[in-house]
Every structure is written in C-alpha cells, then in structure tokens.
C-alpha cells in the first residue's frame, strides 16, 4: 500500500513537472520543444549525479555537505593534471576524478564510521578543508580555457546518438544506481541501516560501514561531476559550484527522500533534480527577477517537504481486535 503511495508520489512529481512545463510554455512557447528539453536535461545532469549520491547518504541517516567542495577540488586537480600533462588520455582523467572523489568521500565516511562524529559536523568541516586545499594547490589562481587541452574540454560535449556525453553519463548513473539500490545486498543495506539502525545491527549489517560506502559513492559521483563541470565550463577556480550542495539536498527532499533516513529512490532523486533544474532554467527566460527566482525555488522546496511530511505521517494504530480482523 505504501509502495503504491510512493510510486504515486513519484507520479505526482511527474505530473507537477508536466504542469510546470505547460505553465512555462504559455509564457515562452519554445521551452517545451524537445531540443530545449534536452538542453535543460544536460544542464541538470550534474545536479542529477550529485543528487543520486546524496540520496544514498541521506538514506543512511547522514548528510553530505561536502559534495560541492569535493567537486571543486577534484575539478581543480584534474585541470592541473591536464595542464601539466596535456597528452594524458581522457579515460585516465575520468578515472582520476572518480578515484579522488571516492577517496575524499571515504575520508568523510571514516570519520563518521570510526570516530562516530555526526555527519553534518564532519562534512561541514571537510567542506571547508576541501575549499582550502583548492586555494593551497592553485594559489588562488584560475585554470582557464586556453590552458586546458581540446580533448579535455570536448569530452562532455561530444554528441552520441543526439545527446551530449554529459547527459549520457547522468542516464547511465540513473540506471546503474537503480540496479544497485534494488538488486544488490549493498543497496538493501542502505535502506536497512537508515530505516532502523538497531534492527539492522542485529541482522548482521554493519551500519557504520554501510554509511562509509554511502559517503564513498557520494564522493565518487562528486569527483566525476567535478571533471565534467570544469571541462564543460572550461574553467576551474576556488569557488566553483559554491553553495551547490544545498541545491543537491533540495533536489533529494523534493524527490521524496526522507531526511530521517530509510525512504528514497533513485527515480525520486532524478525527478527532484529535474524539477529544480526546470525551474532554474525557466525562470530567467520567462522574465522573473533573480530575487523572485530564489524565492520560488525556496517555496518549491518547502512545499515538497510539507507534502512529504503529510505522506509520512503515521496512521493511527488499530486498537480493537475485531476491527483488525475486519480490515
């Protein structure tokens, strides 16, 4: 029954996105054209990638505020590697980005798992540390477009079957993590560890280790996004994606991920990210002032939280025996 409710909640989000598109189309008819929607999807791909990782972390009753800083640090490192070794094939750059991101995520994970520091404190700290490391590495200088090799910049833009590689990576991540979350023991452990840590412990699941893997995945996705981000915008500096971690958390919340842990799906994170992405892309073109844009994005988040809170409210227990049998 609740499963139907969750799927219907995702259906609701699909409906809301459809409604939003119709509404925007009345003001700006070209918005809903397939080519523009493909652009919006491509624009939203980094958010989708990070939201999937964040969803897994939130599922285990944690939060990762360091994703944007991780993205920026990894982006800077791969940019500098590219400047130093322009001939290094892109496949290695991607591998380094994922690997470095994962290591940074593991650092969060270790602190949460072994030292049992609250995740919000850990990632607030590492967020600042990562940003500081970028400054130390780069001396505060930018890596500009002309310093990056053409191949480095071309990869996310290359078109395959009509869509840029960046979009394909987001699609691939959605598919891979849908499988991980529903078909693997690790995916099941994420749900169990967040749904009821005590019960999970007694069932032989190491809750801390599960959280560690959640941070590792979140970090790896942030690292991958770091490369895609700097190559797409062809620039790397200390403050890229500043404050982006809040958009990522917001996308999860809009997508029905329970901030209390244990509830959430990849589809939800995807839809939440798309909803936010469409609003951010559409509001400028329909001529709404930037200040209203912020207010509208914030309003959407609060409405989503209210809807989730309503849906998760516990139903009254059945007290009488005959009523229980009747139902």
């Amino acid at each position: 029954m609740l499963k139907r409710l969750i799927t219907s909640r995702e259906a609701l989000l699909v409906g809301a996105i459809g409604l939003l598109l119709i509404l925007i189309s009345t003001r700006f008819s070209g918005f809903a054209a397939p080519s523009n929607l493909a652009n919006v999807f491509n624009d939203t791909s980094p958010l989708i990638l990070l939201a999937i990782g964040q969803m897994i972390v939130i599922l285990t009753k944690c939060i990762d505020l360091s994703v944007a800083a991780n993205l920026a640090l990894t982006g800077m490192v791969v940019s500098m590697i590219n400047v130093a070794m322009p001939g290094l094939p892109i496949i290695f750059i991607v591998a380094i980005a994922i690997g470095l991101g994962a290591v940074l995520g593991m650092f969060n994970g270790i602190l949460v798992w072994k030292l049992q520091i609250p995740p919000i404190v850990v990632t607030l700290g590492t967020m600042t540390i990562f940003r500081g490391m970028i400054f130390l590495l780069s001396d505060g200088k930018w890596v500009n477009s002309h310093e990056m090799s053409p191949a480095f910049k071309a990869f996310p833009r290359a078109e395959v079957l009509g869509l840029p590689v960046l979009s394909w990576i987001a699609i691939l991540a959605v598919i891979v993590f849908s499988i991980v979350m529903t078909r693997t023991t690790l995916g099941r452990a994420f749900y169990a560890a967040g749904g009821n840590p005590h019960a999970a412990t007694y069932a032989g699941i190491n809750v801390g280790k599960t959280q560690f893997w959640a941070f590792t995945i979140s970090g790896a996705l942030a690292g991958l996004t770091g490369y895609l981000w700097v190559s797409r915008f062809a620039v790397a500096y200390v403050d890229i994606a500043g404050g982006f971690e809040l958009d990522v958390v917001a996308a999860c919340v809009i997508g029905g991920v329970s901030i209390m842990g244990g509830i959430g799906t990849v589809a939800g994170a995807l839809l939440g990210a798309l909803f936010l992405g469409i609003i951010k892309n559409a509001l400028p073109v329909v001529d709404i002032s930037p200040f209203w844009q912020l207010a509208i994005s914030g309003g959407a988040i609060i409405i989503a939280v209210i809807l989730n809170a309503q849906a998760n409210r516990k139903k009254g227990r059945i007290i009488l025996k005959q009523a229980e049998q009747a139902s």
């Binding site: 749900y191 169990a192 019960a199 412990t201 139903k315």
Partner: protein
C-alpha cells in the same frame, strides 16, 4: 463471590466514598475503530484499583483520556463527582492526576532535581529558578520515598528502577491526588518490585488514589483493593479484589477459559551444539561458561542488572569481550560481529522488538530476508525470486496475515510485526536462538502462543536460550536454568532444584 463476565457489581465500601476521579460512560472512537465503548471507572482515595485487560483492550486509551492527551467522544470525566473536561494535559495535572509510564518519560540530560520540578520549579525573588531550594526539596522528596538518589545526578546515569523512583518523586512534587502506574514493574527486578509495593502502600496511606495497570496477577492480588476489567474496549467487570479469584479475572479478561499451563514437552536433548567458556568483560560479566544441547531450552534467570542481556549481546558479537571462547558443534568459532554470529547459526531476538526488531519502512519480504541476504545473493547481487520464495515460506509457516509480502511492515498490526521479526530469524536457519524476555509486555493469550512456539522450535532440534525475569515462565519452559548475579553464574539448576524459592535465593544471594 464469583464475578461473571459482563456483570458489574460495586463494592459496598467504595460506594460510600466519593471517587476522586472517575470516567462515566466514556466512548472514544478513532477513524474506523471504537477504542472505548461507554466504559466507566472510579478511583477512590487511599485505594489501589487494578486495570486489567489484554493488549488492545483499551487500557492505554484510558490512561491517555485520564491524563488529557485524548478527548473522549462521549461520556464525561468526573473529578470529585463534578464533570470536568480535561481539554489539555495541563488540565489533568492541575487536578492532581499524574501518570508514571511503562517507559519513563523523563529527560536524560537533566538532573534528577530538574526532572522532578520541571514546569513548577521553586523561584527566587527575581523569578529565576532557585537551584538550592529545588535541590533541597528534591532531596526531601526522594528520602521521603526511601530513595537514596543524589538530586544532582543526571537522569541518564540512573538505572531503570531509580528512574521510576524519580518519576514517582515528580508525581508527589505536584501534589498528585491520583497516580496512574502503567505497568510499573515491567522492567524491575524482584527486589525493586518489593520496594515499589512498599511505596504504593505509603502512597495509599497518604490518601492518594492509584490506578495500577499490570499483566501480572500475583502483583494485582498483592496490592490492589479494587479491579476493573476491560475487553475489546468494553467494561466487562469490576469490584473488590477480595471477592474474586484469579481464574475468574482471567476469564473476564479473555472471555474464555485459558489454561495458564505451559506446553508439555518431552525434552529430546541430543548433542552439544554450543559451548561457551570463560566469557569475561571488564565491567559487565566474568567467567561465563556453559554448554547447550540441541533441542534444549536453557533459561537464564537473574535480577535486572545481573549481566544477562550484556552477556548475550557479547555472545552475539555486539559488544566485545576481554576473554572467552565459543565452540559450535565442537569446532571453535570467532564471533566478532553480529554477522559472524548469524553466519555461525546464532541469532538473537532482542528484548526491545519495537526498536531493534523490524524496519517499518521496508516491505515484509525485505525484512524477513535481511539477515539471510548472503544466502540469497551471489557476488552482491540479489536473486529476487529466491528471496521472495524464502520470505513466502517463512511467512506461511508463521501464518503471517498481510495483503501481500510487499506490504510495508509499518502497516501491520503489532502481532503480525512480531511474526515478521520471528520469521526473519528463523529464515537464517539458526542452530541457537537467544530470546531475550520473549513475553515481556505481552498479554496472556499471546504469551501462550509464544511459549507453544518455543516448544516447537526446541522439538525441531533448535537450541533455545531464554532470558526471562518471570519466574513462572523460567520454571515452566526451561529444561535447565542458569542463575546469574552481579555478572557471574551463581547456580545451574535442573529437575528437582527448579523451585521458585531456589531461583530467588540464588539470584538475590541470600
């Protein structure tokens, strides 16, 4: 005089006195469910009234109405015979009604004195809390009830029994006229229960009216003056305890005759399956050694705090030990985590099944297979068909009633949730099952079912360890009993030694 179900008689003495607090034909309906149907209940000064009923009879709803948390849909609350609506919990407190809950609702991070006086702390002339006066008053209150607790201690540093005393101190501090005790002895040891009885007597002597909710008949007959029995939200009988027998009460409660006899078993004790030697922990237990055979039910008795649960958690790999060795089927095994324990065929059904049992946001089948994921997966990928088949076979075996195995456990009734938890452990095909207080807070009807089930497990060759603080249960179910006191095994009893006095004597160290 024997009470008949459905017939209400009133004790002659109590009709003369005015009830300090009463419910008059109170009805409470929740969406689709009538939780209480025209029930009446009277509490008299200086009397203990026992409220008896199976789980789901409506006892908790009554407590919530009496304390102003729920509003009745029909009928009224009478204070000193005058209709008085308790529209908010504070209204109940103003009229001197206070409740001591099964799980104490106090604040762990505050001191004992702060807990007692929260909301009505003594003020100094600046309107600020007068800490010195508060501590002094708390000390006086606590020593008045014979509790040797420093008012400056943080609540989290106290044991459960002491927390109850603090709750009682709080009740006294607001000058309570009515004290509601909701299963106050559920978590207490034998000696602590005796102290509670004395306290109840002294509250009686002070003219307080007491509503005592309990599952245990021995304590009801020990301390109650009157009784009120609920069944399925209806009043089925009340009167003076002196006029009623235990059998009559049970009959009223369940509406049928229930034999309180434990299942007859012929212990078919075979080879040793588990052998534990020299288990020690720096602070909780020392040198625990025993052997357990297939088909045997081994009882662990002791006072609360004797280290039984702590040892079981160590055996299950949740806490570490400083020394000790485990052998399964004669082969030494290392248990460093619950996963190791499950892999080696040991499972532990914890005491607090609500908190440690099921994962409410996951569907039934995922809960059932959670500890068995290793068996139904290869290289980390789940085989969903096998998973479903495993869940289905154990759900059927336990007669689990749900629309589908996809139903989320949070939507099931309490009894069915419990079945999910048991199915989960049986699905691991364990050799040894540890049941920690398997019938704590369970009504009589369900208790018998749990006992029957334990007997079946043993008959199938499972070795069962049962940690229990209820003497009848320990004696009725166990083939052998190990008594623990202060972290050590002090006796191992079997056959003719299994007598209530012997158990209590060893447990208390008399």
């Amino acid at each position: 005089m024997l009470q008949h179900p459905g017939i209400t008689t009133t004790d002659v003495d109590t009709t003369k006195a005015v009830a300090v607090l009463a419910l008059d034909k109170v009805t409470k309906t929740f969406p689709g469910v009538k939780a209480l149907s025209e029930v009446s209940l009277s509490l008299y000064p200086g009397k203990v009234t026992a409220l008896i009923g199976e789980n789901g009879a409506g006892k908790s709803t009554v407590v919530k109405i009496l304390t102003g948390i729920y509003q009745p849909d029909g009928g009224q609350i009478l204070v000193d015979d005058k209709p008085t609506p308790f529209s908010v919990p504070q209204a109940a407190a103003t009229h001197g009604v206070t409740a001591i809950h099964q799980e104490t609702v106090l604040f762990d991070e505050l001191s004992v004195a702060e807990n007692i006086f929260l909301g009505h702390a003594p003020r100094n002339k600046f309107g600020l809390i007068d800490l010195a006066a508060m501590t002094e008053k708390a000390r006086a209150l606590l020593s008045g009830i014979g509790a040797d607790i420093d008012p400056a201690t943080k609540l989290k540093d106290l044991g459960i029994a002491s927390k109850h005393l603090v709750a009682i101190g709080r009740a006294l501090s607001i000058d309570a006229r009515v004290v509601i005790m909701d299963e106050p002895t559920a978590a207490l040891s034998h000696k602590e229960i005796e102290e509670l009885y004395e306290l109840v007597e002294s509250l009686k002597a002070q003219g307080k009216a007491i509503l005592f909710i309990s599952h245990k008949f021995d304590e009801i007959f020990r301390i109650a003056d009157n009784f009120t029995v609920f069944r399925d939200g209806q009043l089925v009988g009340d009167g003076a305890i002196a006029d009623v027998t235990e059998a009559a009460l049970v009959k009223m409660m369940v509406g049928r005759d229930v034999s309180q006899i434990f299942p007859q078993r012929t212990p078919n004790v075979a080879d040793t399956v588990l052998s534990v030697s020299g288990y020690s922990h720096p602070t909780e237990f020392e040198d625990i050694s025993f052997e357990l055979s297939k088909g045997e039910i081994l009882g662990f008795y002791g006072l609360v705090g004797a280290g039984r649960s702590e040892f079981m958690q160590a055996l299950f790999g949740i806490t570490r030990t400083s020394a000790g060795a485990t052998e399964i089927d004669g082969a030494p095994v290392q248990i460093r985590s619950p996963a190791d324990a499950v892999d080696n065929g040991i499972v532990y059904v914890p005491e607090d099944r609500g908190k440690q049992g099921a994962i409410l946001d996951l569907p039934i089948f995922q809960n059932v297979t959670l500890p068995s994921l290793g068996r139904i997966s290869s290289k980390g990928f789940l085989k969903l068909a096998e998973e479903f088949a495993l869940a289905r076979s154990y759900a059927e075996r336990l007669d689990l009633r749900a629309a589908s195995l996809d139903t989320h456990v949070g939507n099931l009734s309490g009894g069915n949730q419990q079945k999910v938890v048991i199915a989960k452990w049986l699905a691991t095909q364990p050799k040894v099952i540890i049941l920690d207080e398997p019938t704590k807070g369970v009504d009589i009807g369900s208790k018998a079912a749990v006992h029957q089930f334990m007997a079946e497990l043993a008959a199938e060759g499972l070795a069962v360890i049962m940690v229990s603080s209820e003497i009848p249960e320990v004696l009725g179910m166990s083939d052998r009993v190990i008594v623990m006191r202060e972290g050590r095994i002090v006796a191992e009893l079997a056959d003719d030694d299994l007598k209530p006095e012997t158990l209590v004597r060893h447990a208390a160290g008399i």
